[in-house]
């Protein structure tokens, strides 16, 4: 039996900050910056939240929704570029916190913003080969931009967990293809708190090339065209890039309606495409075809040809919160409190 998505859950922290508030501090027109990026606000984690807690919350929701016994999880991978430890896996804490230990394999993935989609591919292989019953792929980040940097207007926090299995599949994965090159558009060196990037170089040769080439390669492989898809989800470092890449590939704004969440919560990095997919699945009925294309700097794209099944009509979404809740709710912070929450204030003695 073909491997696919059995359950999913998403989680976004409660706090928000607007580009206008960030711009106020740095003496630039943040409102215009937000409009240029198509980001209305971004999420901010509480001081007691990190990639481990967000991953755990999203996976607990997924396990409850799918009524999945955590002891049946054979593999658990967490994709992130903001793992709390440089050495000690996020995945072990998450596995323990959901009751999946000890009989499973677990590891942390890192590929800038696409570590979560890479984790899904790995789980598809293990489940498809019948080595395990369920595989868990999580994409979560609490990334930061340097104070005043353009990234600060969009870098946010959130994550989503997907359970991959062969039974009671709510969304089939027909095909996945990847497109990978050595492209130094965005990076963070060991020991550095904030990432560096190549400015405009992150656009054309990086995001746009990889996403379009990967999407086209997938559609060619399965013989599909944009009009075959009810929904499309792209990696969304801001609200503009996915709109532009969608237009280039021939998708309408209506097809992006549910897959585009960054305007309301910011760029959740490894969580971005996955939260978009979770929002699509929150709204989808049976028989709806979905194209998802992740992107990670450095650089690579993973594209997925997905289709919901009759099983999604019976899927119990009552546990946890739908993605729409996180798009509509939140508590806005001043830059001062945001700086305190994110450890940007020098407390002395360090």
């Amino acid at each position: 039996m073909q491997a696919g998505i059995v359950s999913y859950g998403a989680y976004v922290p409660r706090y928000r900050i607007t580009p206008a508030e960030i711009g106020r501090v740095w003496g630039i027109d943040g409102e215009s910056m937000g409009q240029a990026l198509n980001v209305q606000r971004k999420s901010v984690p509480s001081p007691d939240e990190d990639t481990i807690t967000i991953s755990t919350e999203s996976l607990r929701t997924a396990l409850l929704r799918g009524a999945i016994d955590p002891q049946q999880i054979g593999a658990l991978y967490v994709g992130s570029e903001s793992h709390p430890y440089a050495v000690k896996p996020t995945a072990t804490v998450v596995a323990q916190a959901v009751g999946a230990t000890p009989n499973l394999t677990a590891a942390d993935f890192e590929f800038a913003c696409k570590a979560g989609t890479a984790a899904i591919q790995t789980c598809l292989g293990l489940v498809g080969a019948e080595m395990i019953r369920y595989g868990v792929a999580i994409g979560t980040d609490t990334s930061q931009g340097a104070p005043g940097d353009a990234l600060e207007y969009s870098a946010s926090a959130g994550g989503a967990a997907f359970v991959i299995g062969r039974e009671r599949v709510i969304c089939r994965v027909h095909r996945t293809v990847s497109y990978t090159t050595d492209t130094p558009d965005f990076w963070r060196r060991e020991g550095q708190k904030y990432p560096s990037h190549g400015g405009r170089f992150t656009g054309e040769p990086a995001y746009f090339r990889h996403v379009t080439e990967c999407a086209r390669a997938l559609m060619e492989a399965v013989g599909s065209t944009p009009k075959d898809y009810a929904h499309v989800v792209f990696h969304q470092p801001n609200g503009k890039f996915p709109q532009r890449v969608g237009k280039t590939l021939g998708f309408s704004e209506a097809q992006m309606r549910y897959g585009l969440v960054t305007p309301y919560i910011g760029n959740t990095y490894s969580g971005a495409a996955l939260i978009g997919l979770a929002n699509v699945l929150d709204h989808a009925g049976p028989g709806e075809r979905i194209l998802m294309v992740g992107y990670g700097s450095g650089a690579g794209s993973d594209a997925f040809d997905l289709e919901t099944t009759e099983e999604i009509a019976r899927f119990d979404r009552s546990f946890g919160r739908p993605v729409q809740y996180y798009l509509d709710h939140g508590v806005e912070l001043s830059y001062a409190v945001y700086a305190k929450f994110r450890g940007k204030i020098h407390m002395g003695g360090e």
Partner: protein
Amino acid sequence: MSIARFWRETPRRYNLGGSKCTNCGTVYFPPRSVCPQCTHHRQSIEKMVRSQLSGEGEVLSYTVVHEPAEGFEMQVPYVLALVKTPEGPVLTGQVVDVRPGEVRIGLKVRATFRKLREEGKSGVIHYGYKFSPVEETNGGLPARGPPVPAPESLERPRSAAGA
């Protein structure tokens, strides 16, 4: 707290793992190896089983902390509450994602997984349960126009393969 001590407590801190006396039905958190209700008659011996709390509960009483414990300076003022669980035990825990003025006795809460404290900049990070309100108390944002068409205008083509 030593690494070993915290590690021993992870089942209860991560997953609210308690114990239950199968003789009288009382649930304990933290877990007990004998039941105080039944010990006099030694009836609980070998009758204590693991029992995981659901994580549901309601605020029995609470206090707002303005003078923080070490490691909680960034969260002041924060709420500590006694949470009555449907299984019976009353737990002490922080209530997060709520303004202190919005907490009230009887508030429905649910366990959430959070960072409890860090052993300095290079030490171990401790995780465990806190509580958050089941219903949002005051998190609505001003409505802003969506950048893309409303769902009514959606056309959802279905693939020929169907479901």
